[in-house]
Chain length 168, copies 2
């Protein structure tokens, strides 16, 4: 099965101009504002999105260099499979973040709680719907131990994905 | 910014051989079992994933025909912008579902609460992490009115995306 080529439909802007200081997860991104510049081609697709308080962004990890199937995340000292982490060095480098939608002005979407690198190409916007997206009775494996710790950490090199480097 | 070509890293299997009877959302998919056949190339990436009870699947809406920026979802009688819906006829036809992970046997992942069409090419697996993915005080716009109603509905033509057809 061939997967057709995806395209950038816009750009995500944030205060994170480089990888240093990037939040490794949204609770560190609390209150961090950003905006999306949607390609005007897709403007009609925004109709009624302003009724939703939260949106799911899919974007391209454009700074991810290599694929690393096993990474040592910033949140841990042990290696884990890439699919058990949110690190960018994935076989398909697609990022996923849930952000709060503040308002929409034409093709510009103002968002907050942003944990995305400035300039990230946008692939999709989906409405966040608790009935679809919220799960209960959840186990989070290796992350459980560091759950409290991660609330305060930020990453500085999670995109590098090189041996000996940590990858979020 | 060019987005490089993504590739299928596996196949999602489900009882939904065609679009008819597909659940339009996960609560209709409750208890529906499926499995993922991961390309063995990526087996190392599964390390420690079995500690997570829920996973986020990104997959290719391989049966989506056209891009429709405005759709009349199965859940409503009014048209909405594609980004305010979860319909497949998106500029980048990437599906997102949160499913429960039952167990992993080599490159086969057994999952439940599956709302994915059989044969869908898998793009990514991410661990579901409430600290990242769970939002509170959420508004869901046009879906609010039909929130109760959708708990029982299933879709039969949401992939068609043609004028006059409904698209979920």
């Amino acid at each position: 099965m061939k997967v057709k080529k995806f395209k950038s439909i816009g750009v995500i802007h944030s205060p994170f101009k480089g990888i240093e200081g990037m939040p490794i997860q949204p609770s560190s991104a609390k209150g961090i504002d950003g905006w999306i510049e949607l390609d005007p081609t897709y403007l009609a697709g925004l109709q009624d999105l302003d009724g939703f308080s939260h949106i799911i962004l899919l974007y391209y990890f454009h700074k991810a260099k290599d694929i690393k199937l096993v990474v040592t995340p910033f949140l841990d000292d042990l290696p884990h499979g890439i699919f058990a982490t949110r690190a960018p060095t994935r076989p398909n480098p697609i990022g996923l973040s849930v952000v709060e939608l503040k308002r929409i002005e034409n093709e510009r979407l103002f968002i907050t709680n942003v944990d995305v690198l400035d300039g990230s190409p946008l692939l999709d916007i989906k409405p966040y719907i608790p009935g679809f997206d919220h799960q209960q009775d959840v186990r989070i494996g290796w992350m459980q131990a560091s759950e409290d710790e991660i609330r305060t950490k930020v990453s500085d090199d999670r995109f590098l994905g090189r041996a000996g480097k940590k990858a979020a």
